[in-house]
Symmetry: C2
Subunit: 299 residues, 2 copies
Amino acid sequence: MKTNALYKRTYNQCLDLLARAAPGRPLASEPQMAATLGVSRTTLRAVLAELSARRIVAIDGRAKVLLRLPERADYLDGTDLEPLAEMVERKFMAWMVGPECSPGQIINGLDLARQFGVSTSAIRDCLSKFSHFGLLERQSNGRWRALGLTVDFVTELFDMREFMEFRALDRFMALPPEHPAWRALSGLEEEHRAMLADIDRRYRDFSDLDHRLHRLINGVAPNRFFINIQGVMSVIFHYHYQWNKKDEKERNHVAVEEHLAYIAGLESGDIAKARAACGFHLKTARSTLLASIEVATGP
Amino acid sequence: MKTNALYKRTYNQCLDLLARAAPGRPLASEPQMAATLGVSRTTLRAVLAELSARRIVAIDGRAKVLLRLPERADYLDGTDLEPLAEMVERKFMAWMVGPECSPGQIINGLDLARQFGVSTSAIRDCLSKFSHFGLLERQSNGRWRALGLTVDFVTELFDMREFMEFRALDRFMALPPEHPAWRALSGLEEEHRAMLADIDRRYRDFSDLDHRLHRLINGVAPNRFFINIQGVMSVIFHYHYQWNKKDEKERNHVAVEEHLAYIAGLESGDIAKARAACGFHLKTARSTLLASIEVATGP
DNA sequence: GGCATGATTTTTTTATATAAAAAACAGTTT
DNA sequence: AAACTGTTTTTTATATAAAAAAATCATGCC
């Protein structure tokens, strides 16, 4: 049976929307609201039905009126607000870097299904996805073997990343000065400076900025295989740094400075300089990740 | 219900094995036979049971005797000798390059399941796999969109390939002269010459040789992400050239010559020369694939 | 004791069933 | 006519069930 996490999240989002409206005012039409919330009209209608049952809105034909502002208690909560696939993915990553999993080990899908409280098909999907990430391998007998978030993995991932970033860097610098990417780059530079000025409070926003800078540079010569590898990196970073909050502020501070040097290198027009700054930044990122893996798995 | 394609293929393989034995001679033990055939003892025992029922072998405790040589009629045949996943994959690729699929189109999984005569889960697995190949994309609403075997796809794939092959080439040439890879390379050179001498009859064996040469060069600095992309390339070549037999002989003849130039470049120790030969070969491969796509989809 | 067979248990693969969600269809209202 | 709502159909996500295949256990033979 499919979960209705989407319905629940949409319901909550809809409450957020209503909280900004004034009671007594009519609401937008169904297609409009559905578009705003990014779901199908079917889902929106289920939400509206519930809102009507709770006497938050009154529905009469196409006249929809907000009866009262939503309250704290109106919101749905619970663990099932998260899509199933994401939940499984999260638990799996936690399992993979935890003590129960060692590199080279056979993965027992049935057992994971029991542990995570989901069906085997959900596990299958998850394993299939992570095998493309290179964290797992399929054996000839159909079983899955864990490869793990090892030093090898990080090395191979960063080798690839470095190589690709240099390639993108070369192409980026070959862009004519009037190309919009240069404007976007100075926009990002400004944002970096703004963050740096208030780094103590804003250091958590770095990961978004990081993402955008690398996407800008690599977006010049789009390549789906590269984007795929970037996606792998995102996921690894996302999970890994979620558990490794240690030194986060210091780490991000350093990274912002490195980004600024990288941007300066690009803007200088001097390829050697840009490459050096880029290489330096990637090297730091690599050793930071490696160090935090070694902490997690023991020396 | 799971298919028993493995059992059937193992049964046929076992007949092949028995065909090389002499009637009256005892057979190897179950674990030994299972290992030879690369399956579990459970599957082997099912095969032995059938062989016994057909009076091909007599089983009495641990004494197994071949009663008669297997005949043509003993072999199992039919479409279900192919593993389900492979069958779906094959049909899907044919569908994708056929007239029913145009780039950008939404893929209807239910419909494909009906067309191919399989369940939706089999289709789902297949779509999930090909999405990692960059031939499909998943939309936010959960649907799959075909991207197709387009010029863009080939361009991006070959950009990646070129870029990775050059990287591997550099590392390969940095190997010390006593490294076993050099011996392996001259072995491959010999094989290329042997094939060239008899190209009219042996041109079909080229794809194996191609695979081995590129694997040797790229195997020096193994990287799972690279291997993944190589896998994509293999699959594309496999399917595409299966349908495009036109000029196969001429094409392979040219490629063998280019390989020899590439090998000579590597052995010369001159990086520029090796890179040039490599670049030339990859360029030919790229335009050959592009040309054959344009033939397939119209000018 | 080491390896073989026979029987049992576990795990994986695949089809099917059902709820959720999307899309399509058909009237209605403005 | 354009856009809306109510209804129906189609498609997707997920759990479940059952066969195939692998692994494990128990026992016996040399």
